[in-house]
Structures are given as structure tokens and as C-alpha cells.
Amino acid sequence: MKNRAKRIADLVAPRQQRNWDGRAASNFIAGGAGGSLLLFAALVGLEADATRTAILLGLVLIGGGLTCVWFEIGRPWRALNVYRHFATSWMTREAVVALAVFAAGGGAFLTVWQPLVVLAGIMGLAFLYSQARILSANKGIPTWRHPRSVPLMVATGLAEGAGFLACVASMSSSLISIWILAGLIALIAGRAVFWKSYLGGLTADGAPDAALKVLGGIDSRFVVFGHVLPALALVAVLAGMPGRAGLIFVAGLMVVATGWFLKFTLIRRAAFTQGLAIVHSPVRGRGAGGAAAKPGWTAMIGFKA
């Protein structure tokens, strides 16, 4: 009886989604960073070998993420059906952009011809944006559908790509310009702003209590390890502190690792379903209707009772 009661309660209140596991999360984790890395490889203008390394890394990340998804879907041998709904599905659009990414990125890797490198960068950005829109189109998950999830996903993707590029550039001190460091600091600051904006918006607009608890629980760790410490390391480099290559590498790695931590949290741990709601309790016999109910939610904004 206890188990039965628990199952029924689970269906009424928001519950953690279990359909997209670590494999699906890997696509967002690696793909966003890879797309952004392609963009920055085009923007920064590194030497040919470093550009090749960045492009290869970006393509491997995107390809790895998509391969993980392929292992997750129920009918992998029908995967080409994914191209059938370009009109409205961001998953189809992501798949189309992925083709362009690999075509342009492959050409750019082989030739390091600047127009191709730039095209690969643009396609990388489009891939990152498509992934952000896939999440936000899912109305069943309140933490994803919030309009501020798109800028947050794009911001963390950009920061991760720049973090990867800083790691690549740190291998050769001649590649590290003040602009790369300043740009990375700006992207770190931007991600912090979008994170706080997202968290504030979600709290104000309402989300399942369990999801808010998960996201609130990572807030301080994410801010400190993903923003404060890497930014301090980069400022120290700008101030002329010795060991700059190591500091830049560690800072870049921290930005990437915390971004991946954020995305894993968003897609797995904080992804609670909407749950059900009773807007009006039924009026039976001579009695009056009871209270409205939205189990698992404290904030009732947008709920027409």
C-alpha cells in the first residue's frame, strides 16, 4: 500500500525526468563547447597548427556528443528520420547544422583556409544556438522552457569554447594575447550575469520546488569555481604573475568543467516535469469547492486559480 501510494503521488507532483540520461546530456555538454570552440578558432586567428588543433577538438566534441545521442535513441537505425521536420523542430535544425559543421569544419581542418574556418565558426555558433532552443522548446520541463535558459545555454557554451581555446593557446606562450585573456574574462562575467538572471527569473516566475532546490544548491559552487577563481587566475596573469601558461590552462579548464557541471545539472538533476494541477476543486452536493492544488510547487505565478 505504501508503494502504491508513493507511485500515485509521483504522478501528481513534478518528478525528475528519466528519459534523457547521461548520453543525451553529453550531447549538450560536449556539443555546445565544441561549436563555440569552432567559433573562437575562427575569431582569434591562431597559427595554422593551433587552429587545426582547435578545429579538430571542436569537431570531436560535437561528433562525440551526437554519437552519445545515437546510442540513446530507441530506434537508432531510423536516425535519418531526424531530418524530416525542419519547419518547427530544433532537433531537426540541429541535425542539419551538424552536417554543415562537419562539411565546413572538415574542409577548414584540411586547408586552414580562412573563409572555411570562418564558415565553420558560424556553423558552430548555429549548432550551439540550436541546442539551446531544443531545451527551451520542451514545455514539459519548467527549468528548460524558461526564456532565460537560452541565453544561459549560449553564454556557458561560449565560455566553455573560449576556455578550451585558452587551454590550446596556453600550450604556446606566443599565442596568448591580452585580448584572449580579456575576452575570456568578459565571457566568464557574462556567464555569471546570465546564470544569476536565470536563477532569479526562475524563482520569480515559478518552478517546481525540487528543481529550485537543486539549482540553488549548486549556485555558490558554480559561481566560485566557475567564475571567481578562473577570473582571479586570469587577472593574476594580466598583472604579470609568473607561471602564466599554467594559470591560463587551469582557468580555462575550470571554466569548461563548471560549464559542463551546470549543463549536467540542468539536464539531469534539475529537470523536473510540470506535474499536474487542479485549478478548481469540484463542487459536490451542497458543499463548496475546495482549494486549488499544484503539488510540488510553492510559487503559483501563472496559475489561474
Binding site: 545521442v69 531526424v82 518547427t88 532537433m91 514539459g140
Partner: protein
């Protein structure tokens, strides 16, 4: 035009789960999967509490988010408003499961039967391998509805062309019909009662109306 919808009178539902059983019988859903279910909800605080039975399933939204996100066009909306899945096209990506605010969709990745790996005789007759590892949900018993065109019967009036859950409801809580027909059971009921649709703020325009009081 035709827009098939369902009304559920929360005042009448007694939580007997007959609709759940009828749905399972009509659609041969796998163990643990309920396209139609009745949730048992308690509201209020002691001593002022109320127990409500809330039947739920696919809401056949007018603007279905599942159809929008589906990358394969496996999920489509018919001209009569029924949201349907083509199991031959679905790749089981679960994007539609995430898009549905009503928790109406299920994917069963492995075949299993009531008593383990081997089907009962009844299960082996009705087992559909095309429904494994793809998204599935209530389809308003569309095969029955489609028979209406051939037989001249009216869904919501004649049991032969009415969803199994509606036919089975012992308290008459569920009604089915064409919202665009002002004389249909559903249209008449909705004129005479106060009702709501779940999660209307999300803009999906659900096709299931919950009646909670008379006008």
C-alpha cells in the same frame, strides 16, 4: 470542421479506474503503461481537506508542443484535432516526452510482459513490436473514430465509435464529441457548466475540459 474533445466531470468521477482498465484492454498497452490513468489527489489542510480523482491522459492540444518538437513528423495532428503517432517514423528520441506538460507520453525500451519475458496467449496475439522503443500515448481510440465515417455513426453518441474510456465510465463523468458541433454532448455540457483546462497558461490549448461546477 471537426474538433474532437473530451470533458471530464470531476464531480462525478469516483476513482474506480474502470477507464484505465478499459483503455488497457482496448489498446493492449504494456505492463506499467497507462495511457489513461486516474490520479488520487488530496487538497487543503486538515481538517478542511478534499479528495479528488483526476483522470488524465493525452490532452490532444490544439497547438501540441509534442508535434512542434518532433524531428521526424511521427507526431502529427489530424484535421479532427486528434494528435497521433506514426510508430514507423518515430526514432524514440523522447523530445516529445519532454515537451508534453501533461506527462502523457511513454517510451518502453525493452519488451516485457505481465509475467516476465514470455507473453500470455492474449498478449502474444496483440503484441505490436512497432510500439517498442518509440513514443506512445492515448490516441482517443482513433480507429473507432475513423469507423464513424464508414458507418455514419457519431463519436460520443454511439459506443462503437467512441473512445473505450468514455464507454466504460460507470458514473458518466466522461463525455466525448465534436466541439465545433453546438449540438454535441460536449458542447452542450460545456455551455451548462464551469470548467477549466489544465496548464492553460502554457498556451497549448488542451482538448480535455475538467468540469467542476454548474454554471
Amino acid at each position: 470542421m471537426t474538433r474532437y474533445v473530451m470533458s471530464i466531470d470531476l464531480r462525478r468521477c469516483v476513482g474506480c479506474q474502470t477507464c484505465t482498465a478499459a483503455c488497457k484492454g482496448a489498446n493492449a498497452t504494456p505492463p506499467g503503461v497507462q495511457w489513461r490513468r486516474v490520479l488520487d489527489v488530496e487538497t487543503g489542510e486538515f481538517p478542511d481537506v478534499q479528495r479528488i480523482f483526476l483522470p488524465g491522459a493525452c490532452m490532444h492540444c490544439a497547438t501540441p508542443p509534442c508535434e512542434e518538437v518532433c524531428p521526424t513528423r511521427a507526431t502529427t495532428q489530424r484535421a479532427d484535432g486528434v494528435v497521433n503517432i506514426n510508430y514507423h517514423l518515430c526514432i524514440g528520441c523522447a523530445n516529445c516526452v519532454m515537451a508534453c506538460p501533461f506527462d502523457a507520453r511513454t517510451i518502453v525500451h525493452k519488451t516485457h510482459f505481465s509475467y516476465g519475458d514470455q507473453p500470455l496467449p492474449s498478449e502474444s496475439i496483440r503484441f505490436d513490436p512497432e510500439r517498442v522503443a518509440v513514443s506512445m500515448k492515448c490516441n482517443f481510440c482513433k480507429d473507432r473514430i475513423d469507423e464513424a465515417a464508414a458507418t455514419g455513426l457519431t463519436p460520443g453518441i454511439h459506443p462503437e465509435v467512441t473512445p473505450a474510456c468514455v464507454n466504460s465510465c460507470i458514473s458518466g463523468a466522461m463525455e466525448f464529441g465534436d466541439l465545433d458541433d453546438p449540438e454535441s454532448n460536449v458542447s452542450r455540457l460545456l455551455r451548462e457548466t464551469q470548467h477549466y483546462r489544465m496548464h492553460e497558461e502554457l498556451g497549448t490549448e488542451p482538448g480535455v475540459y475538467y468540469i467542476w461546477n454548474q454554471s
